[in-house]
């Protein structure tokens, strides 16, 4: 709640709206206790007195009634009617929306078509018709305004409910024995409530205007009762001769509606989770760089990640996602990076081409060298030319990386044409050739498919084809087969293996699956809490893991062909990278940990092709390396 208010008042305009609105509401609440004239007593002798005459601060109207008194009483009435209409519309509209969204099918159809019919009439016509049927009067105006606004709530809330009703916690509630009413009230409603409040806060102002409109036409409040609309209506005839009688209620309407709308927008921005998470702040085209230490010297590797440090700065917290990672690949080599979620493996991969979202991501140290050239801190244009051309990515979910509205052939052609000058026809034939390279059957006809027309395995082939489009030197594959079925995974893996042998591609393959690493990769690195804890040739690491974490992680994973058994588990949870323990990050979960493990930094010891970051490795490094 405090966080919400803080967020709300950081928005200056919303704060201003809140202040104006609270002054008005306070005045209106105090109206019965203020020493005011009776708003309805006429005194024709005093008619049309100018503002600031004694006894009448805002002057008098055409019947000599005190304008200040009428204004406050009128505002009181208008606010009450507008707010009541909003509550009624929100209640009925939300009830319709939730019921339609939850039950779906026929009920949804009937309810929503009814709402559509209500929406088909121009709102003012509908309101006039309702008032005409019920007769003029403030109460009937209230009913009309509420009815006119029901569709807005019903449609809004139905949309949200449909999304929620498919969630698993609704199924869980049914299995816990709850009936439909109870599920709607106790499971759905609390999740929909913020949306209802947002919708209300943005429409109250509108409803006050509509009520005023009806009163202005003489269909709302009846004389002598004052509300803002009828005050304007009565003052209309004296608009030229005595403008103050219409300016006074006019300014009040303006102030109320403006302050409510500003506040409503502020409430929406503060409550909406998408806006709160910073979706509106567009990330920069490249990751921010602020390196304090000197940049490491160039090496002759194809792609070398050197002492890379990437952090996320969220508020006051600093998440050290990558804490000094060094890796290198040569042409034709496949390097596997293995780790659990939060180990920093994906952030390492994205840092290579400056693709980590900034804010909040910042590269705070190290270098990434492609053929000796440092890419960290390189200009956007340099990076853009290399992205997809020299270094390409394959992501986990091809459905979310392919554009749903373009044919895959066009997307492939675009990937080629953004780096090479090529005619449309040539790009298309190259796209077909690429689809053939990734063994998509009937490439000539499938080139015109949309992503949704393909199966998951086929889509991932398109993802690979796109990565191959410009004959890159390095492909970074971030869990490319995790979302696929095993039979499809086997096909994709053998495809990648063939490609790197035929084309001399270097692949950095990120995964959590030891089986995949063992089959595809020459070398592997194990990551834990943003650092590499072990590195070496795949066979050697899998057969003789040196770090207690690698050893236990391998034991955790059930392997096919061993039958039913108890699995070895690692106790505890991986650490959160904004609060890493001193010394070895694995020490709290490690059975071999000594007090020395919890002091000081543990370095990566290297011997031959093996490396390990542990004071008490499972075997001595030199033995394993030989």
């Amino acid at each position: 709640m405090m966080a919400f208010l803080k967020l709300l008042f950081r928005n200056r305009l919303a704060a201003m709206g809140a202040v104006v609105l609270s002054i008005i509401v306070l005045l209106v609440l105090l109206t019965p206790f203020l020493p005011l004239h009776d708003p309805d007593v006429t005194a024709t002798a005093d008619r049309f007195k100018r503002p600031f005459t004694d006894g009448h601060l805002l002057g008098t109207d055409h019947l000599g009634r005190d304008l200040l008194s009428r204004l406050l009483w009128g505002t009181r009435l208008s606010l009450a009617v507008g707010f009541a209409a909003a509550v009624i519309a929100a209640f009925i509209g939300s009830a319709i929306g939730i019921t339609a969204g939850y039950f779906g099918g026929r009920i949804d159809n009937i309810f929503m078509r009814g709402v559509d019919m209500l929406m088909a009439f121009p709102y003012i016509l509908l309101a006039l018709a309702i008032v005409a049927a019920l007769g003029p009067g403030l109460m009937n105006a209230l009913i009309a305004v509420a009815a006119v606004n029901i569709p807005f709530f019903a449609r809004n809330i139905r949309g949200i409910t449909v999304g929620l009703a498919g969630r698993e916690f609704i199924d869980a509630a049914r299995l816990a024995g709850m009936g439909h009413t109870r599920i709607i009230v106790t499971e759905l409603l609390p999740n929909v409530l913020p949306v209802i409040i947002i919708a209300m806060s943005t429409t109250v102002g509108w409803m006050i205007l509509e009520t005023a409109g009806l009163s202005f036409l003489g269909l709302g409040s009846q004389p002598p009762q004052a509300d803002l609309g009828s005050m304007l209506g009565e003052a209309r005839s004296a608009l030229i001769s005595h403008p103050h009688t219409s300016i006074v209620p006019g300014i009040m309407i303006f102030l109320i509606v403006m302050s409510i709308n500003l506040l409503g927008d502020g409430v929406r921005d503060a409550l909406d989770p998408r806006l709160r998470s910073g979706a509106l702040s567009r990330p920069l085209p490249t990751t921010l760089v602020s390196r304090k230490q000197p940049v490491p010297d160039a090496t002759d590797d194809l792609l070398a990640i050197q002492q890379l440090e990437t952090q996320f700065h969220v508020g006051k917290r600093i998440y050290k996602a990558v804490g000094g990672v060094s890796l290198a690949v040569r042409p034709g080599e496949c390097l596997g990076i293995i780790g659990e979620s939060g180990s920093g493996k994906s952030v390492t991969a994205l840092s290579v081409m400056g693709l980590v979202a900034s804010p909040p991501g910042v590269i705070t140290g190290g270098a990434v060298r492609f053929q000796g050239e440092d890419l960290v801190g390189a200009s956007y244009e340099t990076l853009r030319r290399k992205r997809g051309d020299r270094v390409a990515y394959i992501f986990q979910d091809p459905l979310s990386t392919l554009h749903p509205l373009y044919k895959i052939g066009d997307q492939l052609a675009e990937a080629i044409r953004s780096h090479h000058k090529l005619s449309r026809a040539d790009a298309r034939s190259r796209a077909i050739q690429l689809l053939k390279d990734v063994r998509i059957p009937n490439a000539e006809s499938r080139v015109d498919d949309f992503p949704h027309e393909m199966s998951g395995g086929m889509r991932q082939r398109v993802g690979i084809a796109m990565a191959l489009a410009n004959d890159p030197d390095v492909i970074i594959a971030d869990e490319p087969t995790t979302a696929l079925d095993v039979t499809v995974q086997a096909q994709i893996l053998s495809l990648l293996d063939d490609l790197r042998r035929d084309r001399g591609l270097a692949i950095i393959f990120i995964t959590h699956d030891f089986g995949v690493v063992a089959q595809l990769c020459d070398r592997m690195a194990v990551m834990y809490a943003g650092r590499i804890v072990e590195e070496g040739p795949t066979d050697s690491v899998l057969r003789h893991p040196l770090h207690p974490y690698s050893k236990r992680l391998i034991e955790c994973v059930p392997e096919l062909g061993q039958g039913r058994r108890k699995l070895a588990a690692i106790p505890g949870l991986p650490p959160v990278v904004d609060d890493l323990p001193p010394g070895c990050a694995f020490a709290p979960r490690c059975p071999k940990a000594q007090s020395t493990c919890r002091e000081g930094d543990v370095g990566l010891d290297r011997a031959g092709r093996r490396a390990v970051r542990c004071l008490y490795p499972e075997e001595t490094l030199e033995v394993a390396a030989s």
Binding site: R167, E168, F169, D171, A172, A173, R174, L175, A176, G177, M178, G179, R182, T186, E187, N191, E340, S341, R439, G456, G457, M458, R461, D485, V486, T487, V488, Q489, A490, Q491, L493, S494, L495, D497, H512, D513, F514, G515, V516, A518, Q519, L520, R552, C556, V557, P558, E559, L560, G561, Q562, G563, R564, K566, L567, A568, A569, I570, P571, L573, P574
Partner: protein, 321 residues
């Protein structure tokens, strides 16, 4: 004793009606399947995406009404699809632990509802029971006042398991309970499930796509393809000596340390179209052993000796030993 007996259970989803056209036919998600699970047994169900395993599971707990067929629990038929009726006998653990917990309720409210609604337990008894369950799934009691977003995946899944246990069911359907978890946490949850089963005498139906996991936890395994059971057998034998070519394809595709990388299937094959299913065996289009006979006549499940059943006209010969 047979805990769960399913006969000819099938589900067909009607295709959408358009304004001018009546719905014609529908999508066969689950073809008639029959199987039974013994009390205290773990039956593993494997299959790839789209094979109907989740539809089957949702029918078993009453979240979906079957198009045909019957479900019997402890010899008693459950014919109305009222989840509350099913809830006391059979419970469900969801794949995504975070989406299965209502974000606006604290853990105590989540744990209380099955006790209140299904067992009408008074307050004092409820508190004692929740404490007891939390103890057995290794969760601390102070978690009860917290909200779901404060938990890691592994903890949230343990809360999901605790909620299923609270209903005091005999059978628990585990729908991919560990596939959203990290490997080090996955082993913790699997071991917990094994312990709970022994402690409470539970019967499990374990649905997953991970062959290694299903082999490690199951007594028997049922392989689904395109809505039908293609093979059932003992966990230790079914992948070691598969009789159905699809089971063999699955076993050969799983990445295993120390096995060289080969594509067991060279063709770029896709699953058959559920709107327009092929006649005969659904696997025939991908099968190296398929003949004309397979493409016309649908095979039925037949005994392949020693508790192993396969639906295939040309089964793979049993391996010696």
């Amino acid at each position: 004793m047979t805990a769960l007996k399913v006969q000819n259970l099938a589900k067909t989803f009607a295709t959408k009606k358009t304004l001018f056209r009546r719905s014609q036919g529908g999508v066969r998600a689950v073809c008639p399947v029959s199987f039974s699970v013994e009390s205290g047994e773990t039956l593993g169900v494997v299959g790839e995406s789209g094979c109907g395993k989740s539809t089957l599971a949702r029918m078993l707990v009453g979240l979906l009404e079957p198009s045909e067929g019957t479900i019997e629990i402890n010899g008693k038929a459950l014919d109305n699809a009222d989840p509350a009726e099913f809830g006391k006998l059979i419970q469900y653990v969801f794949q995504d632990p975070n989406s299965s917990l209502n974000p606006r309720k604290n853990i105590r409210q989540i744990m209380e509802s099955p006790l209140k609604r299904l067992h009408k337990m008074p307050r004092a008894e409820r508190d004692a029971r929740i404490r007891e369950i939390f103890d057995s799934v290794n969760l601390r009691e102070e978690f009860l006042e917290r909200y779901p977003h404060e938990f890691s995946g592994g903890q949230a899944q343990r809360i999901g398991i605790a909620r299923a246990l609270a209903a005091d069911p005999q059978i628990i359907i585990l729908d991919e309970p560990v596939s959203a978890l990290d490997v080090s946490v996955q082993a913790q949850v699997l071991n917990l499930l094994a312990r709970l089963k022994a402690e409470f005498g539970l019967t499990y139906l374990f649905i997953t796509h991970d062959l290694a996991v299903v082999e490690a936890v199951s007594d028997r395994i049922m392989v689904l393809y395109f809505g039908s059971v293609v093979e059932v057998g003992k966990a230790e034998k079914i992948f070691a000596s598969p009789r159905h070519p699809y089971t063999k394809l699955l076993a050969d595709s799983a990445p295993v340390v120390g096995r060289p990388l080969t594509a067991p299937e060279q063709k770029g094959t896709e699953l058959p179209d559920p709107l327009n299913p092929p006649p005969g065996c659904a696997f025939a289009g991908r099968c190296p052993r398929a003949t004309e006979h397979c493409r016309t006549i649908e095979p039925v499940l037949q005994s392949m000796g020693e508790d192993q059943f396969a639906a295939c006209h040309h089964p793979i010969e049993a391996r010696e030993g």
